[in-house]
Structures are given as structure tokens and as C-alpha cells.
Amino acid sequence: MWELIRANKRKSIFLFLTMGIILILLGYVIGTIVYPERGGYLGVVIAFSIWVLMSIISFFSGSKILLAISHAKEVKPDVHPVLFNVVEEMKIASGLPYLPKIYIINEEAPNAFATGYNPENASIAVTSGLLVKLNRDELQGVVAHEIAHIFNRDIQFMTIAGIMLGSIVLISQIFLRSMIYSGGRRYHSGSKGGQAQIILIVIAIFFAVLAPIAAQLLYFAVSRKREYLADATSVRFTRYPEGLASALEKLSQNTSELSVANKVTAGMYIVNPLKKKGLRLSDLSNTHPPISERIKILRNIAGGVGYSEYQNAFNQIKGNHSPIIPASGLKEFGHIDFRESKLETKTENTLVQNKRILGDLMMTVNSYQFYSCACGLKIKIPPDFKHNNVECPRCGTSHAL
């Protein structure tokens, strides 16, 4: 598996170089437009400093920012012991040295993501809807997928690539906006002016529009591949593809939108949290591979749960042979067997029951206290409740807290 991580790193470096070249070119072209004499180099320096600055910010507080945007709350084991157990189980299966920090997002839409700069400081966030809708095996599949992102160093890659993409978008936005507001007048009021200058400006605008799109397509292409790879790794950890497959099925049936997600964070989640509105863009701009395809591949795995079996199933479903798993990764492990479901057959909750459990869980995350009255009512006490006594709203008995 070290081979696999190394192969991933090599690919990442290629991506970073390409994005770096786009960044430098963008800086150079814009710089030349602003100060035709020696502006090109200045532009490169400015573009580079923007990137360095953003990298520093992301290194020290990138995941904190992402978690805060997503309204994720760090929780203690007693809020949801099963979640903690499942995360620890998968941490053990992966052999990672540290337990990731665990966050819950109070949202009904089931989803999850992992973030962090390295495996030592990683975090996993799941929505409370996920915890309510999935059974233990399915939850294990999803958590294993997130641990796989940490294990394959995807979180690191996504953060760095995301920052580069962000810098490119930022620089081109600043340039394009200043062009619009100044009408481009400021830039050719000086020396020669004329036709050559106008052509140069047109090229610059063209480039500033195109660069972010190119970088984005590159980023999406790699991110889609990483999703497949994380699925394969997840299966290797749990030895039970059906768990993840049936979890993805439940996630795809969800109709509520995750309101805390936006275009920037959408790529981190296990399934796309944003519902498609109106016209559908081409597959090139999707951050995620289609869920139905991922499910089909998982259900088509036969003869074992190693990487090579996943690759075979992938080839069968997709009908092409683009390698998801580097050849060195395929060879590393021999045959790995399936395991049986460990789950005790449990009756699924009804919708009403689920709603109640979800409500209780959301309150627990917000550190509400629960108090069971003798009449059977569960009294929910908010964290800022100041009195020493509480009266049961149904039977009127007074309880000391």
C-alpha cells in the first residue's frame, strides 16, 4: 500500500506542476497588460505570493475553516458511541496511527467528508441524517471511504490542489473585474497604445477566462478518480462491498439538499451534496462520478475484495480500461476474502421513529440534556437553562436537576 500512496504522490506532483504553470502564465500575462515594460515579472511575483499566502493560511487553519463553513461541531463519544466505535474500527483496519477528530453536522441530508492536512491532524464530519438513516454496516462503509481519503493522502492533495485552484480563480477574477470597472481605459492610456495593445488585452481576457476553467477541469478529473479509489480502499478495509453499496443507494435516494455545502466544498463530500438545478452540465464538470455507477461497480465485485477485483469490476461496468489503481498497487496484495455481514438483523425504523431519533440526536449535538419523567415524557433541557427545577409539561411533577 506504500507503493499505492507513492504512485498517488507522483500523480499529484504532475497536477501541481500543471496548475503552477497556469498560475505563473496568468500572472505574467496580466502583469504585462498592467505595466508593459517590466510588469510580467512583477505579475509572476504577485501571483506567486498570493498562492504562498493562501497555502500558509490553509496549512494552519484550512480544515478549521472548512469545518466552520459546514457548521460541523466536534463531539464527544457519549453523543454517538456507535459512530466513535465505527471510526475507531476503521482506523484500526487501515493501520493509521491516529484517530481522526469526529464532527457532526446538524442536517437531515445524509452525507460525510474528511479533511485535514495530514493523517495526524485529520477530521471526519458526518451529518446527523446519515447517522439516523444508515445501519451499522452501511455507516462502516461510509466511514471506511472517508478513512480511505485520509489513508490515500487525498485530503492533503485536495487541500493543496484546492488552494491552487482558488488562487487562479481569485487572480483572474480580480483582473476581469478591474477590466470591467475601468472599462480597460487605465491600461492603455500610457505610451504606445494602438492595435497591438488591444490585441494583447483581448488575449489576456481570453486567458483569464480560460485559465480557471482549465484548472477546474483538471481538478475535477483527478477528484473523480480519487472517489473510485477511495471506494476500492474502503472495500479493502471493511471486506464487505455491500455495506458501502447500500449506503450509497440510500444516499442517492435522499431528496433534501445539504444547505451548508457550497460549490467549493461540494467536492469533499462522499456524494454530491448539491442537487442539480435546471440544465445539466457535461460530465467533465462533475466533482463526483455518478452514484449509480459506483454502486454497480461495488455490487459487481467478485472473487475477493482486493484492489484487482475492484479494477476488474470497474472495467466491466465502464467498458474501458482506464486504470483507477496504479499497477504497483494492484500487485501488492494477493487474494483477500469477503467477510460475512456482522450485523444482527434489525428491523428498520419507521419514518416517524427516524424523525424522532434525528431530533434527539441534533439536540444532543447542541448539548441539550435529557430527563425522563415518570409519566413517560422525555424532557429536553437546553444548555443555557438556568433554573434548578424543571416542571414536567405533561403531568406537572417538579424535578430537581
Binding site: V82, E88, I92, S94, G95, R239, G334, K342
Partner: protein, 185 residues
């Protein structure tokens, strides 16, 4: 002069490659040892949970005395075992006995309504999972390590520095696969 330089460069490269192989062997061996200690941690945790479990079910499960006694017996056998073979034998017997207890619990609805007991049961079944996942990880690491030791060219370094292949943590499934006896009367 030129040829001497070439020989020097080739020699230097060879040394670097050999050092790399040696280091990766060390890294893999440490990973195996670390994975083993992970299993150990989880087994200890299970041993610690068992007295609590027996204590909380004893009152309810008066008819399952033999199952409870077996669990206690295998637990102390596991505590005394001290090589990989004995440990895996005792631990798989313990896993089997706990499995029987789990099946027997189905007959005691009072037990399943007890919140403390349910929490304890989640703790125990998660520990079972952790044991099997740490065993899985250990075996993965052993496979990587053993492959490296046996395959060319790293096998040369391995035999030079006396790296020995590790034992897999096998589980005897006889007890686990045993079909529980169900009687309808």
C-alpha cells in the same frame, strides 16, 4: 580516471539502493510489530469487559450457567497463553463462547430493555470488530513484510541481516461456525 569515476558512481548508487531496501524492510517489520500490539490492546480490552458483562447478565440468565462458566474459563486461558499459537487458539475459543452468549441473549427480552446492558453490548461487539480488524491489518502487514523478505532482490538483504518472516494470526473457525442448537418445545 574516467572508468574509475564510473565505477565509483555505480558503487555509490548500489549502496543507496541497498540502504533503501534495508530501510523499507525495517519499516515493514516495525509495522508488523505495531499491528501486533494493536491486536493486543483490543484483546486486553475484551478481557476487561468480560467481568462487567458476566456481572450484568448473571441475574437474568440463570439458565445459561454453562455458557457463562465457559467464557470465564476461556478468558483465564487466554490470559495465561504466551505464544501466538496458544493465544489465537484461546482467543478464538473465547470468541466462540461469546457468540453463543449473544445467541442465548435473544431469549431474554428484559435484558434487551436494559439501557446499561445495551451500552455494554455495543462496547463488546465493537471490541469484537476491533479485534477482527486489527487481526486483518496485522495479517496484511505480515503479508507485505513476508513478500518483501522472500522476493528478489530484497531477499538478499533480508538474509544478510537475518530478517525472519512473521507468523499470520490464524483463527480456528470451528467454534465460530458451529450451528447453534435450536429446540422447539
Amino acid at each position: 580516471m574516467m572508468s574509475a569515476l564510473i565505477i565509483l558512481v555505480i558503487g555509490l548508487l548500489l549502496v543507496i539502493v541497498l540502504i533503501g531496501m534495508y530501510n523499507s524492510l525495517i519499516r515493514l517489520r516495525n509495522a508488523v510489530q505495531n499491528a501486533w500490539s494493536q491486536i493486543d490492546v483490543q484483546l486486553k480490552r475484551r478481557h476487561d469487559l468480560i467481568p462487567n458483562l458476566i456481572e450484568s447478565v448473571k441475574g437474568y440468565m440463570v439458565h445459561e450457567k454453562s455458557v457463562l462458566e465457559n467464557i470465564t474459563k476461556y478468558r483465564s486461558a487466554a490470559l495465561e497463553a504466551n505464544n501466538i499459537g496458544d493465544i489465537s487458539k484461546a482467543e478464538s475459543a473465547l470468541t466462540g463462547a461469546l457468540g453463543q452468549l449473544k445467541i442465548a441473549m435473544e431469549n431474554y427480552p428484559d435484558l434487551k430493555a436494559n439501557q446499561n446492558f445495551l451500552a455494554l453490548q455495543e462496547e463488546l461487539s465493537s471490541t469484537e470488530n476491533k479485534i477482527s480488524f486489527s487481526r486483518q491489518n496485522y495479517n496484511d502487514q505480515v503479508m507485505l513484510y513476508n513478500n518483501k523478505i522472500q522476493m528478489f532482490p530484497s531477499n538478499i538483504i533480508a538474509s544478510m541481516f537475518n530478517f525472519k518472516s512473521s507468523e499470520f494470526f490464524e483463527i480456528e473457525d470451528n467454534t465460530e461456525r458451529e450451528v447453534p442448537k435450536v429446540s422447539f418445545n
